[in-house]
């Protein structure tokens, strides 16, 4: 939690003023019962109406003052709390933007979402609560104690018993409740998991008639959640009666001992009444403190998750004097080996490869043969563990990362479109792209064929994730988006798998005929997607086992032949 304190800096003024004003409010609030005792013991006892009015007016004034302080303080508290969470969110988001692919692999998408939404909100809430409660409660308690002491010091000794007893009892209840609440959370997760599972797999459930089976599975989990929740509740519910007993027991004790003093005349009855008010205030502030600690507990888990994000650094570092121009689209791998972080096994072993500018390279091989890994080293999505990768004759590590990635277009296997119009999505490739350029790219990727059919063409709305397009359409759009960058090298990582054969062939032809200057690297499962490449790499278990044209490989690569054979029974569409 402490590591996050610097984020308060921008709102420090509010963070300091909030508790100060709060303390002023508390002072005003504390003074009121005392003033009231004066009305009873002095004003009424002496039958002095002017005195009563005077003290009464002071009381009203104090209350209005308290209210003003309270309002400003709550505004400052909210400003500081939400400012704090906004600052954290901003920093976390910025941090994630700087993440490398391996950082992103480490955190899953959903965990990053949770951190940016729930965790940040939680911290803001905790900050606001802390500013209000953590300051208010102890001050309230201290002032009330001082007042009680000043009214009647011997009588105030009841607190020496009441306070420790309350603290211990509240402590016991919280210690007992905590593990049950943690258990309850895991029960909640189990229930949510099965709901999620059924939402995704509803077709399977239905086609196998497993509704009753699933309902029974759900029932078991739902029941155990209810049982644990009931257990948690029956524990935490002790809080209120315990507090009630302690408070009233103290009041009765004060009446007993104080009563005698009133009878003997050493204490005013008004003093006794205000003393009782202070008892309630002191014990209430203890309860507030215990709530605050519970909040803090919940917040600390969020804080830990945020700090984890902030303390993870990208290992892809830019050169101090980066090269900002790429001469040509040649690529070379010199003795490159690569292992994913936390993995002992090498995903790539001693790769040596020269690709000439404008060449078309196909890559084929079974899953797990590291085809994607190989090409991801080119735009520095990952850095080679050993050896070097060069683009345009210069080691990729020497380039300005922005330049490198601008000129090396990469169409990811798992690709997404973003909500907005088609035009907005295409402009990801180039902010200043004209409609003409966009349409040209769409034509090249065979996407214009369907985009032109929409009434609003480029203004056609894309839904989140591009869910309103079919898989093939999405792939064609993402290829267009990459082409708009006018790159020197383009990498298609299994990017036409959902495109039908005829369209795929058209796309391949475009790359070969219209975009001959661009170095093209195509990873594919289908031989038909790559067989016209200048050279084809056959990969197996992290190594390039053969290189050559389709005809050459047909003669001398057994693996290539095996793949070809299996696909001859091949694809129809």
């Amino acid at each position: 939690m402490r590591k996050l304190l610097p984020f308060m800096k921008k709102y420090m003024r509010y963070a300091i003023l909030c508790p100060i004003l709060m303390v002023l409010e508390v002072i005003a609030d504390i003074a009121i019962p005392y003033l009231m005792s004066l009305i009873v013991d002095v004003g009424i006892a002496n039958r002095d109406i002017n005195y009563v009015i005077k003290i009464g007016s002071i009381m009203i004034f104090a209350a209005l003052l308290g209210m003003t302080f309270g309002i400003i303080s709550s505004y400052y508290g909210a400003t500081a709390g939400f400012g704090f969470s906004a600052e954290i969110r901003k920093t976390v988001f910025k941090k994630v933007q700087s993440y490398s692919f391996s950082n992103l692999d480490k955190f899953s998408v959903s965990s990053l979402i949770t951190r940016l939404t729930n965790d940040c909100n939680m911290l803001g809430q905790v900050a606001m609560m802390s500013l209000r409660m953590a300051v208010r409660a102890p001050f309230m308690m201290i002032f009330a104690l001082i007042m009680a002491l000043s009214i009647n010091a011997p009588l105030a000794s009841v607190f020496m018993i009441a306070i420790p007893v309350t603290v211990v009892l509240l402590g016991i209840i919280m210690v007992k409740a905590r593990p049950i609440f943690i258990k309850m959370q895991s029960r909640v997760d189990r229930v949510n998991a099965i709901i999620q599972e059924n939402l995704i797999g509803i077709r399977v459930v239905k086609s196998f008639n497993r509704q009753t089976h699933e309902e029974n599975r759900f029932k078991e989990r739902n029941d155990s959640l209810r049982d644990t929740a009931l257990k948690a509740i029956s524990t935490i519910m002790f809080l209120f009666p315990v507090l009630t007993i302690v408070t009233y027991a103290t009041i009765i004790a004060v009446l007993w001992f104080g009563g005698k003093q009133v009878v003997s005349g050493s204490m005013g009855s008004g003093e006794l009444v205000s003393f009782i008010t202070y008892i309630t205030q002191i014990l209430m502030s203890l309860m507030m403190l215990s709530f605050f600690f519970m909040q803090l507990l919940r917040g600390s888990a969020s804080a830990a998750r945020i700090v984890e994000v902030l303390e993870t650094d990208s290992e892809i570092l830019e050169d101090v004097n980066p090269v900002t121009e790429i001469k040509n689209g040649s690529v070379s791998f010199n003795n490159v080996s690569f292992a994913y972080p936390l993995s002992a096994e090498k995903a790539l072993k001693n790769i040596n490869l020269e690709i000439k500018p404008g060449e078309t390279i196909g890559i084929i091989g079974s899953t797990g043969s590291s085809k994607s890994t190989l090409v991801q080293l080119i735009p520095r999505l990952y850095d080679a563990s050993e050896g070097s990768v060069s683009v345009g004759g210069v080691n990729v590590k020497k380039y300005n990362i922005k330049t490198l990635r601008d000129k090396v277009a990469f169409v990811l296997q798992k690709n997404v479109l973003f909500s907005g119009t088609i035009r907005e999505n295409m402009k990801w490739g180039n902010e200043n792209a004209t409609d003409e350029q966009i349409i040209n790219a769409l034509k090249q990727s065979q996407a214009w064929e369907f985009v032109s059919k929409y009434n609003d063409t480029l203004d056609y709305k894309v839904e989140q994730g591009g869910d309103n397009f079919s898989g093939g359409q999405k792939q064609r759009l993402t290829i267009a988006r990459a082409l708009i960058k006018s790159p020197k090298i383009i990498i298609l990582d299994d990017s036409t798998s959902a495109v039908d054969i005829t369209t795929d062939a058209k796309i391949q032809r475009t790359f070969k005929e219209e975009l001959e200057d661009i170095t093209t690297i195509i990873i594919a499962q289908r031989i038909s997607s790559i067989q016209h490449s200048d050279r084809i790499l056959v990969m197996n278990e992290g190594e390039i086992v053969s290189i050559g044209s389709h005809e050459e490989l047909m003669i001398n690569s057994p693996i290539y032949n095996e793949i070809y054979e299996s696909q001859q029974k091949g694809v129809v569409g």
Binding site: A28, M36, I39, V40, G43, I44, V52, G56, A62, A63, L64, G66, M67, G70, A78, G83, K90, F93, K94, V96, L104, I113, M128, V191, I195, Q196, E197, L199, G201, R203, K206, S207, N209, E214, L230, I233, M237, P241, V242, I245, Y248, I251, I252, L272, S366, T367, L381, R405, V416, W428, Q464, Q473, D494, S497, I501, A505, S566, G570, V572, G573
Partner: protein
């Protein structure tokens, strides 16, 4: 998910409060004893609390006047008993209400889940998972909280306000009127702030929804962001939204939090006014000091519930709006199933039992004969997907569907098991209209192997057994062998007992495919619906999968969305689909001779070669 309807902020205020409340109350019916005794105990505790405050006045009066030690002790003893009564009834009352809340929510969750299982597949096309999940989790949670706290708090508040007023009236009608006037003023303030606050609250929800949507989208596409150097632009628009959210939240929260000091201090003002008035009356000897002490205590007690209820109001409304969303899900129409034709085991074979007039019935043997007659279908009324489709499959035949994405291949297979209802025409199963067949029995004769394999949390064996729950271990193993899955399962750390994590993420795509074939095999269906996988599987596994599928298909009526030439070639009939219409049909040789669309699809490959 298609058509995310709920992009905007959620409904915050309930549409029809009364209806929703009544429906909620109907859930309490099952727990009448809990509800009634809970309410009784809560009332008891608040009455006892009023009582204990009422005791203060005689106690202090004994001290001031002629001191009577015995009476003093007696009063204190009564107070002691009252304290115990409060504590006990508070505990029991709160506990009962919490139990009631838990049980109600438990029941609602159960109903929702079992309702969800019965909803038609089309419902899940129209509503996103996120939306349903949020109703299941956030809305139910909110309801639970409100039931647990708000109900009893409102109860306590009512009792306290009424009881305290009564006691005040007894003590002094004049001062009670003064208190009432002050309270009315306070309520006015609360109402004003409440209105401001709920408006700001709405703004905040809009900002949150916008922010969360943006975060979700960006995080999902983070790798794309990197590849396109989009980081700076992303940060820029994020910061804008973040600032918007900060302002909205600060405003919403300020008004909410402000209520506390305002109400607290206004009640002090009230306290001061009352004490001045009280002091005046005491001096005029129309009031005792002890009574004043009690009365002042009452003035404090009476403002607390009002502050609390006003604080709860936003939560309460949000909870009711959530309850409305829950009930909306529960009111969704479930799959219609009025089929009177059932499957019976007669003469050692399965037969359809078709009721005829006069309580008689006719037995039709289950064979697996499917006929489509002029079938029209569209997912939405205005978008027709299938037009006048006619086809038949004789028992044991293999029918392949070929065509580009979106041509309607998957749609046809979704109609056979009645995932969707056709708009026009009819589908006959062994000569019986499938609308007449009981859905459970209809589906029990079919298995689907989908391209997107979905597995469930549990062991590998559990997942295979999903096809037929009563299958023995031997049968499970036999199915795995048939599907070519046995080999990889044997090499898993715990073999058939290996636990699969959420959706089988610890298996490769190909392994999951093999498992889903085994799952279909163990079901031993009459009709098989296959969606062949396209890519993302290496050649060796691909071979295993196609072998497994071939073995599974033999002897069953099979509908297959084909991607492999071998599958297509030896099919009894191939349907070439384009834009929802069968444009060519026949076996491989016939279609090649026609030199139509099928021929050119193949020629596409030929030309590339």
């Amino acid at each position: 998910m298609k058509g995310n309807e709920m992009k905007g902020p959620k409904q915050l205020k309930p549409q029809d409060t009364k209806k929703t409340l009544l429906r909620l109350f109907s859930y309490f019916k099952f727990n009448k004893i809990l509800l009634i005794s809970g309410i009784l105990f809560i009332i008891l505790s608040s009455v006892a609390e009023i009582g204990i405050n009422a005791m203060l006045s005689p106690v202090i009066d004994t001290l001031v006047g002629d001191f009577n030690s015995n009476r003093f002790i007696m009063y204190l003893a009564i107070m002691g008993i009252l304290v115990l009564a409060i504590a006990l009834s508070q505990y029991i009352g709160n506990l009962f209400m919490a139990k009631l809340a838990q049980k109600t929510v438990h029941k609602i969750r159960e109903e929702m889940f079992s309702h969800m299982e019965k909803l038609p597949v089309s419902y899940f096309d129209k509503h996103s998972h996120g939306e349903l999940m949020s109703t299941f989790t956030n809305d139910v949670d909110m309801l639970n909280q409100s039931l647990e706290q708000s109900v009893s708090q409102v109860l306590i508040s009512i009792v306290t306000v009424v009881g305290t007023f009564a006691m005040m009236l007894i003590l002094s009608p004049i001062m009670t009127i003064a208190v009432a006037v002050m309270l009315a003023l306070m309520l006015l303030v609360v109402k004003n702030i409440g209105q401001k606050s709920s408006k700001n609250f709405r703004n905040q929800q809009t900002a949150i929804a916008g922010m969360n949507g943006y975060i979700e989208e960006m995080m999902s596409g983070q790798k794309v962001v990197k590849v396109f150097n989009y980081e700076d632009r992303a940060i820029e628009s994020f910061n804008e939204k973040n600032e918007e959210l900060r302002k909205a939240s600060t405003q919403a929260s300020t008004f909410g939090v402000m209520l506390m000091p305002i109400m607290g201090n206004l009640s002090f003002v009230k306290y001061a006014v009352i004490s001045m008035l009280g002091a005046y009356l005491v001096m005029k000897s129309r009031f005792s000091i002890g009574n004043l002490a009690s009365f002042l205590q009452y003035t404090r007690t009476i403002s607390r519930p009002i502050t609390q209820v006003s604080n709860q109001l936003n939560t309460l409304f949000a909870a009711l709006a959530g309850a409305e969303r829950i009930f909306k899900v529960l009111d969704e129409k479930i799959e219609v199933d009025n089929g009177d034709v059932t499957l019976v085991n007669e003469l050692k074979d399965l037969h359809w039992r078709v009721p005829t007039t006069g309580g008689k019935f006719e037995l039709v043997p289950l064979k697996g004969d499917i006929t489509f007659k002029d079938v029209d279908f569209g997912y939405a009324p205005d978008k027709q997907v299938l037009k006048k489709v006619n086809l038949y499959a004789k028992p044991g035949q293999k029918i392949a569907f070929v065509g580009s994405t979106g041509a309607g291949k998957t749609t046809i297979t979704n109609l056979i098991n009645r995932f969707y209802e056709i708009n026009d025409g009819s589908i006959l199963y062994d000569g019986i209209d499938i609308k007449r067949i009981n859905k459970f029995d209809l589906r029990s004769t079919m298995s689907i192997v989908l391209q997107d394999v979905h597995l469930f949390e549990g062991t590998v064996a559990d997942n295979i057994r999903y096809g037929r729950l009563e299958a023995t271990d031997e049968e499970v193993k036999a199915a795995a062998k048939l599907a070519n899955a046995h080999y990889f399962i044997k090499h898993l750390p715990e073999g058939y007992n290996t636990i699969l994590t959420a959706d089988g993420q610890n298996l490769s795509q190909g392994e999951r495919q093999l498992l889903s074939i085994a799952r279909a095999a163990v079901a031993d269906p009459t009709i098989l619906i296959l969606d062949e996988a396209t890519s993302s599987v290496d050649t060796r596994t691909e071979k295993l999968i196609s072998e497994g599928m071939d073995k599974l298909m033999s002897g069953r009526t099979t509908f297959v969305i084909a991607h492999r030439l071998s599958t297509v070639r030896d099919s009894n009939a191939i349907m070439v689909l384009e834009q929802g219409e069968i444009i060519e049909r026949g076996d491989h040789d016939e279609l090649m001779n026609q030199k139509g669309r099928y021929y050119s699809l193949n020629a596409g490959v030929v030309e590339l070669e």
